[in-house]
């Protein structure tokens, strides 16, 4: 397997899947900020077309882990492979081409305030001239319908939307370019339980429909069980447990069960800063 040019990306992906190569493979990934280690040797495999949920307390390194995979942060050490290709060694142009296959739902939506919803949804397609502006409106309406929003929402600005609608629009933007890997950063944070369940349902549907691989980070255990096939727990910059998402809360790992059940006492102790 060689590069990640736009033409050979699908071929590379299919070959990797056929050879049983994980969609995403991380080995010994380390990252420190101002001398303080945040990732201390992360090892993680994500199977193709599966949904992996990464759990962990605040500051445990969840967000940094996915930012390293996305290329937003460059790790100090380690290997990150997508379809068997070490992305950290890819030339800049090929790495940018890899971004074409990835979608991301940010915690707060990160919608562009200066653009109407329809332009937000089709931003990637428009930026790459893969679609005309006239066609983009139709495409935005199609994708908005997939996340349960009316086409008229496309003409609103993000500031006019409720939190739940912003999350749906952000999800629509993440899936509009039909990526084969999608990252979800705290997809249900700040939403009421019903809207959280709705968003989880949409995530599961969209990921299945696209045949994509999903990686989510969340504190919300109900959400983790709904959207995840597999789960991994990160603690102090290392993956300390991997298993089926359905077993969260009764996994047999004291740390995971304490976290999943929200128990005060257990192996994880809150560190108070003095």
């Amino acid at each position: 397997m060689t590069g990640f040019g736009p033409r050979d990306a699908t071929e590379t992906s299919l070959l990797a899947a056929a050879a049983g190569v994980p969609k995403i493979r991380m080995r010994g990934v380390k990252k420190a900020f101002a001398g303080k280690p945040v990732l201390d040797g992360v090892d993680l495999d994500v199977a193709p077309q599966s949904s992996m949920v990464i759990l962990g307390g605040s500051g445990s390194g969840k967000s940094v882990t996915i930012k390293c995979i996305l290329g937003l942060i460059t790790p100090d050490e380690g290997v990150i492979e997508i379809d068997g290709v070490d992305v950290l060694k890819l030339p800049r142009r090929e790495r940018e081409a890899l971004g074409d296959r990835i979608g991301m739902l940010f915690q707060n939506g990160a919608l562009f305030d200066s653009l109407p919803v329809w332009e937000n949804v089709c931003f990637k397609l428009l930026a790459q001239n893969r679609i005309t502006r006239a066609r983009a409106r139709d495409r935005a309406a199609e994708v908005l319908a997939q996340v349960g929003l009316a086409a008229s929402v496309g003409d609103l600005s993000p500031a006019e939307l409720s939190g739940g609608m912003q999350k749906r629009v952000a999800l629509a933007r993440a899936i509009a370019a039909k990526p084969d890997i999608i990252f979800f950063d705290e997809p249900t944070t700040g939403l009421d339980p019903i809207m959280g369940a709705v968003i989880d349902g949409l995530i599961v549907d969209c990921v299945k429909k696209l045949g994509a691989t999903a990686v989510s980070i969340t504190h919300d255990m109900a959400s983790a069980r709904r959207i995840g096939d597999q789960a991994a727990m990160i603690f102090k910059g290392r993956i300390v447990w991997e298993g089926a998402a359905a077993t969260l809360g009764h996994s047999g790992n004291a740390m995971v069960d304490q976290f999943a059940n929200g128990e005060r006492d257990g192996p994880i102790q809150m560190e108070l800063r003095r």
Binding site: G71, G99, N108, F112, F123, A127
Partner: protein, 261 residues
């Protein structure tokens, strides 16, 4: 010994920090400039930034220029009257406006409006993950957010300064003829006879540099802002203060380049 070394170490840290900041800003500017010439081009964003600078700054720049021209005539008239040299008022006004006051005052006004606006907008985008979102949407933030603004700053400011020059001279002419009793035709003849191409050209070059600096400081401070609303506020203040100081410092450097004998 520490009493001697500690202050020296603090000075050294300050100097190193200053060098690092200047170096980072220079690298930021070079990267942005490299994106100006390479596709894809974001014409819509360029036009939006150009319109914001050239059109929406026009009232404040125009008012500043008119009142500056009016004050300049009054001040120079009372000063020159002591030497019976009031005939030189028109010459002084047109040179002062085109060479110095037009570009510098327009630059300072635009610094207040545009540096702050760019820093606040891009800073908010930084702290709300919108810049990371651009990257994940296969769009280079430097190319999308910074390059069009720098180009717009460098091209829009000379237009504003042309307007400032004209209005500044007109403000002076108005007071000279209506209040001080100058003959209109004589005043205007003295103005245009004395004016040379280099006077206007040097002012426009200064304007272009100031426009670039204003846009650069606004985008750079916004791009590197951290820490939520307070960080964005700090970036906005820093952008305005730094761009204002740089305008005054670069004005000296450019004047030295153009007019040093």
């Amino acid at each position: 010994m520490d009493l001697v070394l500690n202050p020296l170490a603090a000075v050294g840290r300050g100097v190193l920090g200053g060098c690092r900041t200047v170096g980072n800003a220079a690298l930021f500017a070079l990267e942005a400039i490299s994106h100006v010439a390479r596709p894809p081009f974001y014409g819509r964003l360029f036009l939006r930034a150009f319109f914001e600078i050239a059109y929406f700054s026009l009232p404040v720049v125009a008012l500043t220029a008119v009142f500056t021209g009016m004050v300049l005539v009054l001040q120079s008239y009372t000063g020159f009257a002591r030497f019976n040299a009031t005939g030189a008022v028109a010459n002084l006004v047109v040179l002062s406006i085109t060479r110095e006051l037009g570009p510098v005052l327009a630059g300072l006004m635009v610094a207040g409006r545009i540096s702050a606006s760019f820093a606040a907008e891009i800073g908010t985008m930084r702290v709300t993950d919108q810049i990371d979102a651009l990257t994940t949407l296969s769009t280079n933030p430097m190319k999308y957010l910074v390059a069009p603004r720098l180009l717009a700053g460098a091209l829009a400011m000379p237009l504003l300064v042309v307007v400032a020059d004209v209005l500044g001279v007109m403000g002076g002419w108005m007071i000279a003829t209506l209040k001080l009793g100058f003959v209109s035709a004589t005043y205007l003849k003295a103005t245009f006879d004395f004016l040379q191409f280099d006077d206007v050209f040097s002012g426009l070059v200064k304007a272009s540099v100031f426009g670039f600096v204003v846009a650069l400081m606004g985008t750079w401070c916004g791009y590197n802002s951290k820490g939520g609303a307070q960080g964005v506020g700090g970036a906005t203040t820093t952008a305005v203060v730094t761009s204002s100081i740089l305008i005054l410092a670069l004005d000296y450097v450019l004047t030295e380049m153009f007019f040093a004998q």
